[in-house]
């Protein structure tokens, strides 16, 4: 998919790019998988408070062997730490935080995002009868902002930014911004607005990998 004129971002670079846009003081939930990486790129001195839907606020990085406590995990069931000022609460209270609109930001992965902000990230087909939804629908519908962090296309080059989602929806009109390995794209009433591209990439080349019309700001 690469050509000679530009360099796609690595997963770490994508996480780092998104992390740069999270200001101090925000309460943030990071989805399982790639979004979890974002925490590694928020410097400790910039206080961002991470929420995990299994009942913690103020989540810190993975523990050293000495810090490790099997009772302290995140929503991805990985061992984590708790920063001073962190707290524990039960599942209903945790989803009150999510559904009550108290999170400044949620970052999720996705199969598809449509130009109207629809997101599909939980089931690969309507015929799949045992899909695992977890907290994705609650997070998408509840957070103040939903940003998606994902590859710009599927492994076989199919666009993931589309006119209309073909996979079962997670939430309607929820996504406000998309960070891919190629670009940063805002979702507005006008559709997809390209805020940034990797150096050397042209709008035409990006459009060729995108399933819906791209616009420039202004």
């Amino acid at each position: 998919m690469n050509d000679l004129s530009f360099q796609t971002m690595s997963r770490k670079q994508m996480a780092e790019r998104l992390a740069r846009d999270i200001p101090e003081g925000w309460y943030v939930n990071l989805g399982i998988g790639l979004p979890t990486l974002v925490a590694d790129f928020v410097p400790q001195e910039r206080e961002v408070i991470f929420h995990s839907e299994n009942g913690l606020l103020g989540m810190g990085p993975a523990p050293t062997p000495e810090q490790a406590d099997p009772w302290l995990i995140n929503a991805g069931k990985q061992q984590v730490t708790l920063r001073p000022g962190g707290s524990f609460f039960h599942h209903a209270d945790s989803f009150s935080i999510i559904r009550g609109g108290h999170l400044d930001l949620c970052v999720l992965g996705a199969f598809e995002v449509a130009q109207n902000g629809d997101i599909a990230n939980w089931a690969t087909s309507a015929a799949d009868n045992a899909p695992a939804v977890g907290g994705a629908m609650d997070l998408s519908a509840g957070a103040k902002r939903l940003w998606v962090l994902m590859e710009h296309t599927t492994k076989d080059g199919q666009p993931k930014l589309v006119e209309t989602c073909s996979y079962p929806l997670t939430a309607l009109g929820a996504v406000s911004r998309i960070y891919t390995n190629l670009a940063v794209i805002e979702v507005t009433d006008r559709g997809f607005i390209v805020l940034e591209m990797v150096p050397g990439l042209t709008l035409e080349a990006l459009q060729a990998q995108t399933g819906a019309k791209l616009h420039l700001p202004g």
Partner: protein
């Protein structure tokens, strides 16, 4: 560095608008944020809708706010109680609007606002005057009333301990409406008996996580003053 601790009462009340809906914690005088109410009086916001369990007593605090004609409407479960002279006078003279809500429905409507539940069904109040005009439905043979979330602009909360992230604990029965109201407003302002270092509240004993809190001011409340006002 996140620091929700404000320097003074003016900073605590900055930006509170005329016409706001204001939640006031406490049950009677216990856990009532008296210093914040005084701060709100000083701040001067008017045409307020106040949500509180009681309508104030004597001529100080909430009663004083009422007496100054700053409150257009009060939503509470128990307006008429010992010493609610100011409220009763205003009410008799049609100078204040009243919405009486069953205490549990009041708490649940606030909780719903904080939890992103726009409406819920409850059997409480069904078939009574307080359910007049409300949508009803039956669940498992039990007739219920549809109640709406009660979201506010500002919450005034009294806490025991607070830290700079806004984590809170409460003292004995001073807890009451405070943690619920803290979740239900766009701007939650807290007067805490004591501000401690971050990490000073053990994480398993935090009652209100800081995410619900915007501003904290330290106001030591001694038992004697609570008692006096309760009497």
């Amino acid at each position: 560095m996140i620091n929700k601790v404000v320097r003074d009462m003016a900073e605590a009340m900055a930006g509170v608008q005329d016409g706001s809906t204001v939640l006031v914690g406490g049950f009677g005088s216990v856990g009532q944020p008296d210093a914040l109410i005084d701060g709100l009086i000083e701040h001067g916001a008017k045409e307020l809708t106040v949500v509180a369990n009681n309508a104030g007593a004597g001529r100080i605090g909430l009663a004083r706010l009422l007496e100054l004609r700053r409150v257009r409407k009060i939503i509470c479960s128990y307006p008429r109680s010992a010493g609610s002279v100011v409220f009763e006078e205003l009410f008799r003279n049609h100078e204040i609007e009243l919405e009486v809500v069953p205490q549990g429905t009041l708490a649940e409507r606030l909780r719903a606002a904080g939890a992103g539940i726009p409406a819920f069904f409850t059997p409480t109040g069904y078939g009574t005057l307080l359910a007049k005009g409300k949508q009803t439905a039956e669940f498992n043979g039990k007739p219920c009333v549809l109640e709406l979330a009660l979201k506010a602009d500002v919450a005034l909360v009294q806490a025991e301990l607070a830290d700079r992230w806004g984590n809170l604990t409460f003292r004995l029965s001073g807890r009451n409406f405070n943690p619920v109201m803290a979740t239900a407003a766009d701007l939650t302002i807290v007067q805490a008996n004591r501000i401690v270092d971050l990490g000073g509240i053990p994480p398993e004993t935090v009652v209100t996580p800081g995410i619900f809190v915007n501003r904290v001011i330290e106001v030591p409340v001694d038992g004697a003053s609570v008692q006096e006002k309760a009497a």
